[in-house]
C-alpha cells in the first residue's frame, strides 16, 4: 500500500460515514437525527455563543481535582503492590472489588454521603480513575526485570538508589499509560456525575437533550469527542517527549 493510499483510506471511511449520516439525517429530520450539515451550522453558533466552552472548561478544571488525586494516590499504591507481596495481598481484594463495581451505582450512595456539590463530582471522578491507574502501575512495577535489581544490589545500591535509578525509570511509561487510561475514565465519570446532578457540561447535555432539535446535542457530543481525543493525544505526546527512549506500553 502506498503512503498516499494509507493516509487517504481513513478519510474515505469518515466520508462514507458522514454521507450515510447526512442521507439518514435528511430523511429522518432534525428531531430524530440532525444531519452533519445542520450540526456543523449549530456547532459554529455554539462556539461563537461561548456558553458551551465556558461550561466545558469549568467542568474540566473541576475534573482535574479528582484525576490528580487519583494519580497521586493510585501510582504509589500501584508501585507498592507491584514491588511488595504483602501490600499486593492487602490491596488486591479492594482493587478487584472496586474495579468491577460501576461508578454509576456509587453515585446515589455518594450523594447521600457528600451531597451534590464539588465533593461528589471529585470523588466520583477519583473512584472511576484510581483503580485503573493502580492496575497499570502495578503491571509496570511487577514486570521489572529481576536481573536489573539483582545487578544493582550486587553493586551495593541502597534501597533508595534502586527505587530512583531502576524502578522509577522502568515504570515510567506505565505511569503515563496509567494516566491516559485514568483520564479517559475521569472524563466519562465527569460527564456521568454532571448528568446525574445536572450541573456543568453534563448538565448542559441533559438540558439540551430536551430540545426538539438534536443538532445542539450532537454538537455537544462532538466537543466531548474532541476533548477526549486531545487529552489522550497530549498525554501520549508528553510521554514521548519526556521519555523518548521508551515506546509506550503496558496499555
Amino acid at each position: 500500500m502506498t503512503r498516499l493510499r494509507r493516509m487517504s483510506l481513513p478519510l474515505v471511511g469518515f466520508a462514507m460515514f458522514l454521507l450515510i449520516w447526512e442521507v439518514t439525517g435528511q430523511s429522518l429530520g432534525n428531531a430524530l437525527l440532525a444531519p452533519p450539515s445542520s450540526v456543523a451550522h449549530t456547532y459554529v453558533d455554539l462556539l461563537l455563543e461561548g456558553a458551551m466552552l465556558a461550561e466545558l472548561f469549568t467542568s474540566l478544571r473541576q475534573m482535574m481535582i479528582g484525576f490528580l488525586l487519583a494519580c497521586f494516590i493510585g501510582m504509589p499504591i500501584g508501585v507498592a503492590m507491584g514491588r511488595s507481596r504483602v501490600s499486593d495481598a492487602m490491596f488486591r481484594p479492594w482493587v478487584s472489588m472496586f474495579v468491577v463495581t460501576s461508578t454509576a451505582a456509587l453515585i446515589p450512595v455518594l450523594i447521600l454521603l457528600l451531597g451534590t456539590g464539588l465533593a461528589l463530582r471529585s470523588s466520583v471522578v477519583f473512584l472511576a480513575a484510581v483503580w485503573y491507574i493502580i492496575l497499570t502501575t502495578y503491571n509496570g512495577a511487577k514486570g521489572i526485570s529481576p536481573s536489573l535489581i539483582a545487578t544493582a544490589r550486587s553493586f551495593s545500591a541502597s534501597r533508595g538508589q534502586i527505587f530512583w535509578k531502576i524502578i522509577l525509570p522502568a515504570i515510567y511509561p506505565y505511569l503515563i499509560t496509567g494516566a491516559r487510561i485514568g483520564l479517559v475514565h475521569a472524563i466519562r465519570a465527569m460527564v456521568m456525575a454532571e448528568m446525574f446532578v445536572i450541573v456543568g457540561y453534563g448538565g448542559l447535555i441533559n438540558r439540551t437533550g430536551l430540545d426538539v432539535d438534536t443538532s445542539a446535542l450532537l454538537s455537544l457530543l462532538l466537543t466531548l469527542m474532541i476533548v477526549s481525543l486531545l487529552a489522550n493525544w497530549t498525554l501520549f505526546q508528553a510521554g514521548r517527549l519526556l521519555a523518548p527512549w521508551y515506546e509506550q506500553r503496558g496499555s
Partner: protein, 284 residues
C-alpha cells in the same frame, strides 16, 4: 481490562499490533493471577477495612454513614430481599439482551474488519473517534430514539459494551498468524473452512477477553441505564432507598452489583480454563 480504552489514536500502534496483541493474551492471565493472590492476607485486609468502617460509622448518624453490619443485615431482611431479588432478575434480563446483541454485532464485524486490511484502514480511526465519546452522553439521544423503558436501557447497555468488544475482536483477528492461513490455503481450504478451522480457534483467547471486558462494561451499563432512564429494577430500589435516606439499603444494592460483577468475572475465568486448555499460559 482497560487495555483498549486508551488506544484512541490506535493508528500510532498499527506497526506494534503484533506486540500489543501478545500483551493482551499475557494480560488475560495476569488478571487471572490477580484474582487469586494470597487469600489469607487479603481476607485480613478486608476485615481491617470493615472494622475501620464500623468504628468510623459509630461516630456518624446511620443515615449519613451506616456501619457495614447494617448493610450486611439488609441481606437477611426478607422484606428487602423480596424487592431486591426480582429487581435483580429483571435487571439481568436487560443485561443479557443488550450484551447478547452487542456480541452478535461486534464479533462478526470485528472479524471482518480485522481480516481485511482495506476495511481496517478505512474504519479503524472512525471507530476510535466514536469510541472516544463517553457513552453516558448518548443517553438523551437514546431517549429520543428508544424511549425511557426497556428498549432504551438495552440500547445503552449495547452502546456501552459494543465498542469494547469490537476493539478486542479486531485486535484478535489481526493477530491470526498469516502462516497458518497460508498453509490452509495451499492445502486448498475454502474461505469458510479457513474461517472455521483457522481463524476461529486462533482468536478464541480474544473472544474470552472480549467477554470479560464486555460483561464488565455491560453490567456497568445496566445500572447506569436504570438510574438515567426511568428508574426501575435495581436502580429503582436504589433511588427509593436514597430518597428515604436509607443509606444501608442503597449500599446493599452496590454490594449486590459488585457481587454480580465478581461472579461474572469468575465464570468467564472458569470458561477460559475450560476452552483454552490447549493454550499455554504465557506469563505464569
Amino acid at each position: 481490562m482497560r487495555l483498549f480504552s486508551t488506544s484512541i489514536f490506535r493508528s500510532e500502534h498499527m506497526e506494534n499490533a503484533r506486540i500489543e496483541t501478545i500483551k493482551i493474551t499475557q494480560r488475560s492471565s495476569r488478571v487471572a493471577d490477580f484474582l487469586s493472590g494470597n487469600k489469607v492476607l487479603g481476607l485480613f485486609s478486608v476485615l481491617i477495612g470493615l472494622t475501620a468502617w464500623e468504628m468510623t460509622a459509630s461516630q456518624f448518624h446511620k443515615m449519613v454513614l451506616p456501619p457495614p453490619s447494617d448493610v450486611l443485615a439488609r441481606f437477611f431482611d426478607t422484606d428487602f430481599l423480596s424487592t431486591l431479588m426480582p429487581s435483580l432478575a429483571n435487571s439481568l434480563i436487560a443485561f443479557a439482551v443488550g450484551f447478547g446483541l452487542a456480541l452478535l454485532v461486534a464479533i462478526p464485524l470485528g472479524i471482518v474488519l480485522g481480516r481485511s486490511q482495506l476495511l481496517y484502514r478505512m474504519f479503524d480511526p472512525l471507530i476510535s473517534a466514536i469510541y472516544a465519546i463517553p457513552p453516558v452522553a448518548f443517553v438523551p439521544f437514546l431517549i429520543i430514539w428508544f424511549g425511557l423503558f426497556f428498549e432504551g436501557r438495552v440500547a445503552l447497555i449495547f452502546m456501552m459494551c459494543v465498542f469494547d468488544i469490537l476493539v478486542v475482536i479486531v485486535a484478535g483477528a489481526r493477530d491470526v498468524s498469516s502462516k497458518l492461513v497460508d498453509v490452509g490455503r495451499s492445502f486448498g481450504a475454502s474461505r469458510s473452512q479457513i474461517l472455521r478451522l483457522v481463524v476461529f480457534p486462533a482468536i478464541s483467547p480474544f473472544l474470552i477477553a472480549s467477554l470479560r471486558v464486555g460483561s464488565a462494561r455491560a453490567i456497568n451499563g445496566m445500572i447506569t441505564a436504570e438510574l438515567f432512564f426511568a428508574a426501575v429494577n435495581l436502580g429503582m430500589v436504589m433511588k427509593r432507598s436514597a430518597q428515604a435516606f436509607d443509606t444501608a439499603s442503597a449500599m446493599a444494592v452496590v454490594v449486590t452489583i459488585c457481587i454480580v460483577g465478581l461472579l461474572a468475572q469468575t465464570a468467564i475465568h472458569r470458561l477460559e480454563d475450560h476452552v483454552l486448555r490447549w493454550q499455554p499460559r504465557r506469563s505464569t
